[in-house]
Symmetry: C2
Subunit: 323 residues, 2 copies
């Protein structure tokens, strides 16, 4: 029996991961027990033992891992927009709990005589990068974040990798593209419109486009995000060679290309629901973001994402609108 803990299991990606584990097991292994930790859960939550709490409360991480889970997914985070607006909260949620988690793991590792070394998969982000950028960001590009969210994710990576080098945990940091198309309501992320301009029209509703349609960005679907997480949980980390942060694959396109994919899937009437309302604050934030990658290492290690934006739209229609 493999114990799996999802910290942030009530969120969109955490719920999709838990649904996947319930339906398919973890990389084919169905002898698993899943625990979901979050501040709250949807009423139609994915299967798993629910534990409610707040990662910022001291001692929470220690209690959570006391049962020595075999695999830990750490997804809990405040999003980029909120972390930028509220510096103290951003660091308190996005950094400090990782440190406490790793200290708890060190204590458990040492108490076990060195036997206990769980896999720890951390959802980092392409926000660890900052400009000026090359046309395509390769696996050697430096992490120089220009947002608090990016700095917090990069800090967690450093801590996780040092604890892994010491053998307390076996960590992997996966740097997620912007996940698109997110189901449900908009969140506080400045990137929300990338999903909104597809999701709202497909549901017959108006969507606001706050940036120019020449904006280029790096995307993968929620289904791909679940694939990244489970693949990272089963990865042979010896292949990482001391660099445990991986740029995940995705698809790079402009907003105009996104809109053309929507047109192919749902016609001109859907596209007509997109209202252009430039927002200087969002334009500024988005101008700081990376646009394209060559994720050579991740592809070689077997991570996979969509090959075009039509596929990303199709995944949303299949997974959220019943095809």
């Amino acid at each position: 029996m493999k114990d799996i803990l999802i910290i942030g299991g009530g969120g969109m990606v955490g719920q999709k991961l838990a649904h996947h584990l319930g339906n398919h097991g973890l990389n084919g292994d169905r002898d698993i027990a899943v625990t979901l930790f979050d501040m709250g859960f949807p009423s139609d939550s994915a299967p798993g033992k629910q534990v409610t709490g707040n990662v910022t409360q001291a001692g929470t991480m220690t209690r959570l891992v006391a049962g020595k889970p075999d695999v830990i997914f750490h997804l809990a985070s405040v999003v980029s927009g909120e972390a930028e607006q509220d510096y103290a909260k951003g660091w308190a949620v996005n950094m400090t709990p990782m440190w406490e988690l790793l200290e708890a793991q060190r204590a458990l590792h040492e108490a076990s005589g060195g036997d206990y070394v769980p896999r720890l998969v951390f959802t980092s982000s392409i926000a660890v990068f900052g400009g000026p950028y090359p046309d395509k960001i390769d696996d050697e590009f430096l992490s120089a974040p220009q947002t608090s969210y990016g700095a917090q994710k990069a800090t967690c990576e450093l801590m996780l990798h040092d604890a892994s080098r010491k053998g307390f945990v076996d960590g992997v940091s996966i740097r997620l593209p912007t996940i698109c198309v997110r189901p449900g309501k908009p969140n506080a992320a400045a990137s929300g419109f990338f999903s909104g301009i597809i999701r709202e029209p497909l549901n017959g509703q108006e969507a606001v486009l706050p940036v120019d349609d020449t904006v280029r960005h790096w995307h993968a679907s929620p289904r791909s995000a679940v694939g990244f997480l489970t693949h990272a949980a089963g990865l042979d980390t010896a292949l990482l060679g001391g660099r445990r942060g991986l740029n995940m694959p995705g698809f790079s396109c402009t907003v105009a290309e996104q809109i053309e994919a929507l047109r192919r899937a749902a016609g001109n009437d859907a596209v007509a629901l997109i209202k252009r309302q430039p927002d200087p604050a969002i334009i500024r934030i988005v101008s700081l973001w990376p646009r394209d990658f060559t994720p050579t290492r991740a592809l070689a290690l077997g991570f996979a994402a969509e090959k075009d934006f039509d596929e990303i739209v199709r995944v949303y229609i299949e997974d959220e609108l019943g095809g």
Copy 2:
């Protein structure tokens, strides 16, 4: 009157900085008041108000900066060898106090209505880098540390840069080469022999060389380190363009070239005092270190170091042996 605080002011570089400030002021400004903070001070300490304490004690950083210094040099650190042997102590000394310092600065900044923004110069290290390396490391090379010391320094850089971006402090991280020739007794740094094989023979004593003489590394003198610190304190940080970590200049040479410089300065008898005793542990650690740099940005910003190893030996003879 400019208030200057040196955290780690009792150490070798801190003392040299304080001596320099006493003799020359800060970049020509002699209207200064210097406070030195450390666990202890040499009996012949450089001038300055001495404050004794430990950065790991909660509240220490807050008390230290309550008087709102104009310039803060944060040099306090356990060295690489000790940080690697004692993981908990390394993170407790090399990371946590930086976080507390920045939180104290944020509170002071906010209480001042945004007026108080001190310059904060942090001594980072080329240990933030990890292999595989290019022949020469440029300003775009990624930080992927392979030691706890390097991970701690890189973490502090991220925190300092985010607090600077938010305007709480005006930070600069200077990534020091291995400082050579260190005066006095050997310390716990694995790099100690780089100084020892010059210092001990110049003082008529035997020195141990634990690595092969083909080992190449990146050096600058203590005098250059003081120059880096004072130059960083006066730098126009607008020129940094959001990347506040700077690889400092230095000189790259092999141990064999170091030994030839010693021979030119002090003859064959001095060289004969070097005893070759390979140490597998030190050989392994040193093999992980960077060897050469092209520090284009720092040179363009006016940072300067020695042009050859003969000059590094000459600086030691002038500054420590009275010429």
